[in-house]
Symmetry: C2
Subunit: 590 residues, 2 copies
Amino acid sequence: MSESLDARATPYAAPIDDVMVALEVAGIKELLDYGDFAHVEFDHVRPLLEEFGRLCAQSIAPTDRIGDLVGAQLDPSSHQVATPDAFHEAYARYVEGGWGALQFPTQYGGGGLPGVVALALQEMFASANLSLSLNPVLTQGAIEALLRWGDAVQQSTFLPRLLTGEWTGTMNLTEPDAGSDLGEITTTAERDHEGVWRVTGTKIFITWGEHDLTENIVHLVLARTPDAPAGTRGLSLFVVPKFLVNPDGSLGERNSLRAQSLEHKLGIHGSPTCVMSFEGARAELVGPFQGGMRAMFTMMNAARISIGAQGPAVAERAFQHALSYAQDRRQGRSKLTGERQAIIEHADVRRMLLTMTTTTQAARLLLLWTSAQGDRARHAPDHDVRLHAQEMIDLLTPVAKAWSTDVGFAAASLGVQVLGGAGFIEESGMAQRLRDGRIAPIYEGTNGIQAIDLVTRKISREQGKWVHQLLDEISSVASTTTDAELTDSARALASAVDALRTSTQWMLEQLEHHPDDAIAGANAYLELFGVTMGGWLLTRRALGSTSAQRERFVGECNFFALDQLTKAPGLAQVATAGARHLTVPIGDRA
Amino acid sequence: MSESLDARATPYAAPIDDVMVALEVAGIKELLDYGDFAHVEFDHVRPLLEEFGRLCAQSIAPTDRIGDLVGAQLDPSSHQVATPDAFHEAYARYVEGGWGALQFPTQYGGGGLPGVVALALQEMFASANLSLSLNPVLTQGAIEALLRWGDAVQQSTFLPRLLTGEWTGTMNLTEPDAGSDLGEITTTAERDHEGVWRVTGTKIFITWGEHDLTENIVHLVLARTPDAPAGTRGLSLFVVPKFLVNPDGSLGERNSLRAQSLEHKLGIHGSPTCVMSFEGARAELVGPFQGGMRAMFTMMNAARISIGAQGPAVAERAFQHALSYAQDRRQGRSKLTGERQAIIEHADVRRMLLTMTTTTQAARLLLLWTSAQGDRARHAPDHDVRLHAQEMIDLLTPVAKAWSTDVGFAAASLGVQVLGGAGFIEESGMAQRLRDGRIAPIYEGTNGIQAIDLVTRKISREQGKWVHQLLDEISSVASTTTDAELTDSARALASAVDALRTSTQWMLEQLEHHPDDAIAGANAYLELFGVTMGGWLLTRRALGSTSAQRERFVGECNFFALDQLTKAPGLAQVATAGARHLTVPIGDRA
């Protein structure tokens, strides 16, 4: 059915102004003062965003719909996966531009830019074509793992061509019986008679596990070695290339692994989601023996922020589409003039558009602010700044991932609602936003897992020292704002941060003796954290706005305060209610 | 792609116990005491539900997935629409059982049952196969219009076979330029030289506008007559059968109308959504000349409640699927035993399941309670009861339609989340719930339109007399509840109804001089109304529960109070904020 449909994609324009402001709120200027970034000038950042924005708008965004309609296709006899021709062209431009290497060390051909700039570009790529953008996300995870844990030979073998994008990378974690629970992994790695590691097993949900965009694919695979302890402690990480690499860098023998099948998914049809079968595939250990989980988290944490950026990415494109529709579509007449009105004049349509754009912008601010902490943690000259920044990125990664993807999906759904009946028709393109956007709250650790991570592992560091420090910083912005136009929103922010502080204290008290009570409220607590961070960053943006920006930034800050921060007291009640209300019998029906 | 997929549908079991209790809360026993229902015994209601439940479970639910995969197909040369074979069999069983006629007058072959019982069955049908269930929904709308507005010949010509389901009905309202704004309709009806009305024009989004399940289709078409005033006042309603009917009841000439094309939709693929072209089709006026809008609302109001029931319908099936998955799927280990745990043991999964089932049950209670007002309004012996009930159904129809479909879609999305990665895979069947469930907040008047209707036309009747009377009734339940286990939820209900009362008073004050301020808060006001009604009805159900029901009903009431009623104060703030915050410039970006 779908092949007969119109394959024109909706337009996309990179929101350069908003992204630049968000980078400034995230502290890009301070980062660029660090010695490690001496080769990067602030004035070069905007032209870089603009150039990539043009690539996204002109070359990548038009491929988005064909990917949805045609998707990736597996040839069951050859086990090869074909992607649409348009993907090949768009990906070639991406590689030509060296866009995949921006944030990596110059030593391997990278651009040495702050990761926060790369994340800003990643959001644009994901807006333009979410399916295709996943390929670099996974490649970057593989690069991070090899940079941190690979030995010198592995690094020189794989990194240069992963950085250019000539090869791509994957993360092979999940198995049919081991999803959120990696301790159950059964894929094995054993040494053969030559002492070479051989990986055998089946992995599922492997994003871009097989495709025809590049000549090689570098799989990073979590596997269990013989006699290893049960659970996650027995896992090690291996690099398993599709084609072995000769010492001179040329491609050698085809490794014994293949895509068994592709999933038929609700969305991201252009991204091949593979069942991968490893049959004694030649592998090398990456990082410490039985240290696979730590190495895996190196990939995972980088990927979580990138996945978080898919929230505003999907929402931004849905917003642009909904806005354009609302400006064109006429329904109802003006009471004053009797003329037919564009539906953007209707209050409820304005409300939906404002919810879409303010949550999008709040999520973008949160993601870039969190990502900038990663740059601080790696590059700040001062040890205390590095330490603080590392604590901040650890604390906020689950919030940034989960809250941003939840509001991103909600915005896509509002996009459908703005279009009304037309939004439910696939040709409009808005239905694809809803379908594509539904994955981000699920993968790279479901949002429920993020909430548990936040509550049980993040806020509790050093008896809550770091989370309280952050809340004090938010409170001080809320209480010192003298800007008359921000009085109401500052009050709402103060009330939200109070609710968050009380909830945090309660969580910390429960964790020791009643962890089940803390976990029961984790989802509401994470949402409370997300809206509070969003309100804080929008307030900071409004306070620092230029006169040209001010009307919109103040208005958006106030709108968000009303639309989102008013949820805070209710969320705090749910967060601190304990586990008792979850004991209701479920499913005791005939 | 999709044809190769597994067409097995997920199982469905009609929730008979819950539906029976909801009917009792809605006052079914009182209704059956009315003289008009003297032929119906209370003890016959449950067996009726059980019989239809079996039909849904065994014959209709299994057709749901094939409808999604294959859909309805238009032959572009013959303009005929083919539906899956499985639909023919299921629909034949429905017709054989006489299920479509239950609530209609015995005079035309109906069962003379209360409409609320038919609505309970309608929900089950929609759970079993939302696409197929739409056909009777539209047919019932056509029946209502002909019963109320048709002349004796029209009634005897069309009603008997619409009641059996041998023929089906449609509502032809929307046009490309007239969606929410029917005043722009351009389809015309003119008398030919013989004095016969001829309808010409194009209608879009016509549900089941053409199909092969029955030998005739009876279209009800809103059209403009020559020299009619502009806007909705110039519209009249016409009956336009696909095949003309001879005086002896046999089918005559094929009328000049046809399906031009079918929409490719996000969901409900099994329901043919047609672009209908009328080319001088022979028509008869139904009801008063230029009284089309009133006649249309007869169809529309009945349909709105039925569409509302699609919220709990989709949510119930998603819940049953998610529950079964959560009971089977094992991830993580028990801290006590070290055994792998079913994910239903995890707090966040329990939370999601409880949100799904409590909002489903609250929406069902609201819909059945509202629908029962319709039976009271028609059949109560006492004039004051009838008047009061008519006010209640008018007031609550927009709330029941919009809130129920919003929470239904949210529950479908939670269903996807409970399944995690598996939920995103089409074969799981959960993705279809999300796709199908997304339409209900859009059609039969978007939920934004419902909110405006509630605020501008419903609460204001007689200076808010009726809405205040309802709120007093809710307050009295909240304040007199002495049940120790319901103390917390009664307090939450009292707080919610206070928030709703304050917001209502504010709305009534704005309506006169600042209607834009009232409209700006309509969406939040409707949600506040919905959660308050849900909390009230769950409280009443818990208070009246038997000892076997009590633990679950009390627990669900308390869970809903925490999960939903805690939103009330925040919603009241948004509802009463006025229009100023919507004046933020939107889209002033590069």
